[in-house]
Amino acid sequence: MNAASEPAANRALPGSPIENAASVRPAGKTGPAMITVQDIAISYPGIKNGPAVIQDISLSIRDGSIVSLIGPSGCGKSTLLKAIAGLVPPSRGRMDIAGIAPQEAAQRRLVGLVFQEANLLPWKTALDNAAFLLQVSDKRVSAKEARERAGENLKLVGLGDALTKLPSQLSGGMRQRASIARALTLNPQILLMDEPFGALDAITREEMSYLILDIWERTGKTIVLVTHSIDEAVLLSHEVHVMGAKPGRIVCSITVPLAFPRNSQSFADPRFRETEILLRDRLIESHGRSRQAS
């Protein structure tokens, strides 16, 4: 009998947390480590020997997996994501993306970024916005080719009918879909998403979660998601890392014992609720410790 088929009461008992279920491998096709973070620390820029934003963080994210980072505001989730993207250098420790340094990985377009704000250029159509980063990053790619690839990705995210629309003519959800298409047009191996649905309403958020699952199933990309939503983290992820603040660190890592494909039915699975409760408990604990530390 594996952990997933045990009675919920047995698995939810104190002392036998679901963290122990790390041995339950998710059903997705995940591979060897794509992102390796070893004992890194990041300090505030410009402050020598200043307090660390994040400290002692080690992670290994498998190729083709979806991993979420959750934690209280200010715990350094976004900073960690930016470090993986090669935008913030760690002051200590080592990181590699597919065996190379994060900055080199970014320049080789192994990484695609999606932020909370869709950040579309208001003077460009959805198609030109989706093609924009590819054109900037690789001068050898012709405008025609970039637009063809952008068009395919806009179709993938359900914006096939809105190619010529300006951002002002798109809804919030459509704008965020276009920003995901822009990231996909780079054809990265890793998608880094920093609270991508934070500015959307509840229904659109849920639709976007299914879109991410759909993209993952079709492309098998490694996805790292920063979110404040426990539901979102459980629904989407193979593994959830809970972060604490002051300094930012990983307080626990929980493997989600739900099989893929996941959909709206996944919410009804008792293990979904169980994982959600466990994550909530860990978040409250880490939040309490952070308050005491301050």
């Binding site: 930016k82 320049q107 932020f115 990053s137 780079l186």
Partner: protein, 267 residues
């Protein structure tokens, strides 16, 4: 058909929008005329609108010549102000250290009353076009620099991160993102600057000129021809309005995607 009817309805909406302003303007003119007639106010003190209209027609040729001269000063001075204002903003944003050194000096210079500089510019550059252009430039460049700076710097930091994440250089970010993003701000600064330019031209002509609307106002006031002073003021205002709306039309052509500020409907 639909396009035509849309354009027609746009024109109707625009004309309807102007109607309250026109009605109020006419009411003020009628009241003004009545007060002058009823209280028998001397034409030397305050001419009636009818006196101003008569003066406008009687001096039409002279006013037209003066208008061309002042309009040329405004346009050339504004063009220089735009070039200097945009260049300063680009330099401040692109070269941070230089910007940190330069910006406080620009603000300091802005606090100098420019009208006081007019006689100095006359002394330096003579009575021709040059002193007026320099005066207009120093009066009008600041709103352009300031608004352009706001536009260049208000690009979302996360978008800059996005560009950097794919290896974009500062010049790429400047040319492909910051400058287009700053265009609506630049246009707002230019609208303020063009009205300042008209003021600069008149002040420059007051300080020393032999032609132009400012010179005409000064000459008419020495002759106690108050009606002509007001007639010239009407033309100066019209020049300002024409230039202002010329920039607004330019804005609609160059950046149709930018949100339009509708002061009347927002109020």
């Amino acid at each position: 058909m639909t396009d035509k009817s849309n354009k027609g309805s746009d024109l109707f909406v625009a004309l309807t929008g102007m109607l309250p302003g026109l009605v109020l303007f006419l009411v003020v003119l009628v009241l003004w005329e009545l007060i002058i007639q009823v209280f028998n106010v001397s034409i030397f003190v305050l001419p009636a609108p009818s006196n101003i209209a008569v003066s406008l027609m009687a001096n039409a040729a002279a006013l037209a010549t003066a208008t061309l001269i002042t309009a040329k000063e405004v346009l050339v001075g504004f063009a220089f102000a735009a070039v200097v204002g945009i260049a300063l903003a680009l330099l401040i944003v692109r070269f941070r250290l230089f910007g940190r050194a330069l910006y406080p000096l620009i603000v300091l210079f802005q606090t100098v009353p420019k009208v006081a500089l007019a006689p100095i510019f006359i002394l330096w550059f003579g009575y021709d076009l040059a002193p007026k252009i320099v005066l207009i430039m120093v009066i009008a460049f600041f709103p352009i620099t300031l608004d352009m700076l706001v536009g260049l710097q208000s690009v979302e930091q996360s978008f800059v991160s996005l560009m950097k994440s794919v290896g974009a250089k500062e010049n790429d970010i400047m040319l492909r993102v910051r400058i287009p993003h700053a265009m609506p701000h630049l246009m707002a600064g230019m609208k303020v600057a063009i009205t300042f330019s008209v003021i600069g031209a008149i002040v420059g002509e007051f300080a020393g000129a032999s032609a132009g609307l400012g010179y005409m106002i000064q000459f008419a006031s020495t002759q106690l021809d108050t009606a002509l002073v007001f007639a010239a003021l009407v033309v100066v205002s019209l020049v300002g309005v024409v230039f202002y709306y010329a920039i607004e039309i330019l804005e609609r052509i160059l950046i149709p995607w930018a949100p339009k500020f509708d002061a009347v409907n927002r109020a």
